[in-house]
Amino acid sequence: MSVLIFVENWDGKFKKLSFELISYGAKLAEMLHTEVVALTIGAVENAELKKLGNYGAARIINAVNDKINVFDSQAYTSIIAGFARQEASTIVALSNNNMGKAIAPRLSVQLKAGLGAGVSKLPLGLNPFIVYKKVYSGNAFSHLVIKTEIKILTLAQNSFELIETPNNAVISTITAEWNPESIRTRVSEVQKQSGKILLTDADVVISGGRGMKSSDNWGPIVELAELLGAATACSRPVSDEGWRPHDEHTGQTGKIIAPNLYFAIGISGATQHLAGVSSSKFIVAINTDKDAPIFSAAQYGIVGDASKVLPKLVEAVKEIKGK
């Protein structure tokens, strides 16, 4: 028995969400009186692998194969399912991000295991096994019973605190069983921007809406983001208008994010917008309309014209940070 955690790596590196997932797995293993086995696919150096041990992984497996150079959901699923069987894992956990969403449902079918997708707490009960997850795009939460013996869970990003539990994890590097011919999709081109803080990873997000009036007014938002090490985002009409790139669009039909701090500037707070940001720990709203629904979702607010408030805000951050 074990809790198997599939940890994604990005060119051999882990991220905060990787450690959140291991921390979650460690607590889960404690509840079940078992241990956490972490599995990552693609070469990762030992020093990086060791970090997983700091959050409670008892064993760390690095499955490598020179020929694995692109992501293919079928291939990854068969590798992870293989380990789950070998380890007799009763729980397999992944992150609820792009890759996790591509693999977890396939694992569910392969392992005949019920899937709790996007859980944001430890199980509420073990027998029956009840998980807690958002439904209706954040307008409610559900208690979901997983009835199968094996369970697959994906953990919502930024929903679980990092817990350091230093230990001496056993690291093993093994060759992944892999049949390149099984891969039927082919990646012909990769377009990637580097250096930009990813919206889904950012702790702080500065977001502008239609109340910003024009793309020319984004200067202070970008400056504020730079000062706070934040990512920039926007509401849907803003990306529809072409004021900001599409990958900044947050909400029901855009990115779903859960930063520690979300600034909604000139955003009314439509339910479809809130669907993408309601898991933020804190929301700050700046809006001319004191009755805008965004203020019901926010903990801090300024009723005022963004074009006047933002420059002052930028100055204040500079002053405070400068000290």
Binding site: P105, L115, S142, S188, E189, V303, E319
Partner: protein, 249 residues
């Protein structure tokens, strides 16, 4: 090439959900039911592909697992332009149950390109598309932000962290779509609404299978503390609150 678009029937995205029976059931009074936003965009893209004759799309079919009450949503998809529809006559118990039923639809009749949305706005599970692909042992591509056909070959854009990949894929394939697949959902025209009434809607009886999961109760989000307002003339106070009270920056 034949396209199948899987559609889910969900409360309108502005619905303020409420629950009855001690938070065990959704209160459906007054709810407007709509095609799940992602599925509506998939359908739009499927019809755009079909509009261009050079793509050689023979038909666009929609499939739905649900009871007779969801037929208005199916008719809406037909009004928007789907050629025909299949309804599996069962209450969609969970994602696994739905995927089993859809896989069966695909065993009865073959399709080349199958669209599913990245999630349905009710249970936010992101599950059905990839489960369906696994049942059928089809390749699937998730996070799809574009689909086109070039010289008979399917080209798919997949969003990745900080960029995108362009893939060529064989058929049959399941495309699990997100933002970018189509700009605006296509709206049904009067003619479409008239025609929808006579388009074929086939009802298939479900395969008997147990669901893997079950929602036993719901909870409303915890009310957030009332908003604290800061003087617009003195935004410095906001930064101080974020530092000293929220301890977040």
């Amino acid at each position: 090439m034949k396209i199948l678009v899987c559609i889910s029937n969900v409360p309108d995205t502005t619905t303020k959900v409420k629950f009855i029976d001690d938070f065990k059931k959704l209160d459906t009074t007054g709810i407007q039911w709509v095609i799940n936003p992602w599925d509506e965009l998939s359908l739009t893209r499927a019809l755009e592909l079909k509009d261009d004759a050079s793509n050689g799309i023979q038909s666009v079919t929609v499939a739905h697992v649900g009871l007779v009450g969801s037929e208005p949503t199916i008719r809406k998809a037909l009004a928007i332009g789907a050629d025909d529809a299949i309804r599996v006559n069962a209450d969609p118990a969970d994602a696994y149950f739905v995927a089993v039923q859809l896989a069966n639809v695909l065993k009865l009749d073959s399709y080349d390109l199958i669209f599913c949305g990245i999630e349905s706005s009710d249970f936010n599970g992101s599950s059905v598309g990839a489960m369906l692909a696994e049942f059928l042992e089809y390749p699937s591509v998730s996070s799809v932000s574009g689909v086109r056909i070039e010289n008979g070959v399917l080209i798919i854009n997949r969003e990745i962290d900080g960029g995108k990949e362009i893939l060529t894929v064989p058929i049959p394939v399941v495309a699990i779509v997100q933002k970018g697949i189509a700009r605006e959902p296509r709206i049904a025209a009067m003619r479409g609404i008239m025609m929808a009434r006579t388009k074929p809607l086939k009802v298939v009886e479900p395969i008997i299978v147990d669901s893997f999961t079950e929602i036993v109760s719901y909870e409303m989000p915890k009310p957030r503390a009332a908003c604290k307002f800061v003087d617009p003339e003195n935004p410095r106070q906001l930064i101080e609150l974020l530092q000293n009270e929220a301890k977040i920056i």
